[in-house]
Symmetry: C2
Subunit: 238 residues, 2 copies
């Protein structure tokens, strides 16, 4: 039975565990207030920043950039966005602080209690494209009780590259079939499944804001579909 | 001031955080009882097993062995010791279970409460030669509230090689001077200090049993000397 075979759950983080859009919007508004920047729609800015994420990782994937951490990809993108939005007068320290808003993302409300329940029965670890420092700081900020911080950084391959999923099973000393990838995104789950991992789908309908279209439909090939992490804990017998 | 500069404490684990000798002795005695092995002094066996640790890592360091995890070094040593002690009749599963006794080491009594206090102010992480899976499982067993599991495995260099200490600062996104190595062993601290890390010495006089001679004397070059982790938390303002 699935819940007796699975030993560890590994989690996508941005969007699945934490609300990046709401959090970056909040940080942008606070910055705007402090610096009297009144012409920026910070939710749109958050979407634009997040929009650079896939293309930046693709530059690494194609070898145009040497291995580069998300912190540094975020920072490169921030410089471009500040120019694009006509935001001026930020010191280096202020830019650094804003860039590290990605270390201060708030959890979905069910994330801390659901993870706490899952932790009683399983090893729970991140498996994010975020770098280790970002994920470690975020866990303290958001109260996420990870047993272990795993990151694409350790494989030097960004998800959905196979190496990231294989690294997770290998470093946990487990078979891929003993590890369950948990994500709000089917592409992540599909890539994990191709390497032999189990899959749990926890759709986050508001990840991209109240009006965005999000694919929340179940699929036959997914092992577990849950409405949130409390429901996942319930379904996984924790 | 030191406590304002330090951002993370990284910890040696075997001997510093957990009592390997008492725990392996306990596991050996339980195995002996189950399998009616009556001729073995399990404390001596624990010492002999631990005695293989340095020489095994040196084989990796000299390149005689490709990178090999502590779990596998422990297992190779266990095979030799079983022969040497004339212990027969263990199945593969029983040997595996005994080898994983190193995942089930008990903490010194002050470790969980001291770490819990330190965690309120600092990032706390392992920096052990134990592999990630071993340290992750041990944390669940022993109730150790690490923010992050760091291991020589991530650098593919065993302490006291410089690479292990530099990896810790790098992956935490910190300067070496913002990271404090905490250990019961001066060799570990000396090697960390040579790479620019801060140092905390927490001697564990009973690591090698009640009668062993242990060097517990302070040194001028060590930043903080503490009697246990509660005392360390106190001295570090946590």
């Amino acid at each position: 039975m699935l819940i007796n075979e699975v030993k560890a759950l590994v989690f996508d983080v941005f969007g699945t565990v934490v609300d990046w859009r709401g959090s970056i919007t909040r940080e942008g508004r606070a910055l705007g207030k402090r610096k009297r920047i009144e012409h920026v729609d910070w939710a749109e800015f958050a979407d634009a920043w997040r929009g650079t994420y896939g293309p930046s990782m693709n530059r690494v994937r194609r070898g145009e950039l040497a291995w580069t951490r998300i912190d540094d990809l975020h920072r490169m993108a921030l410089e471009d966005l500040l120019t694009q939005y006509g935001i001026e007068g930020l010191s280096e320290d202020e830019k650094d602080h804003f860039n590290r808003a990605w270390h201060r993302l708030d959890p979905w409300p069910d994330s801390p209690p659901g993870l706490t329940r899952l932790k009683t029965r399983y090893v729970i670890a991140t498996l994010s494209n975020g770098n280790v420092a970002l994920l470690t700081n975020m866990a303290k900020w958001a109260g996420l009780p990870w047993d272990c911080i795993l990151s694409a950084e350790l494989a030097r391959h960004y998800k959905p590259d196979p190496e990231a999923y294989l690294m997770a099973a290998d470093i946990l000393g487990l078979e891929t079939s003993e590890v369950m990838m948990t994500a709000a995104h089917k592409g992540d789950l599909k890539a994990a499944r191709a390497q032999g991992l189990r899959t749990a789908f926890v759709p986050r309908p508001f990840e991209r804001g109240p009006r965005a279209q999000i694919d929340t439909s179940p699929e036959d090939w997914i092992d577990v579909v849950a409405t949130d992490f409390e429901d996942l804990a319930q379904k996984m017998g924790a």
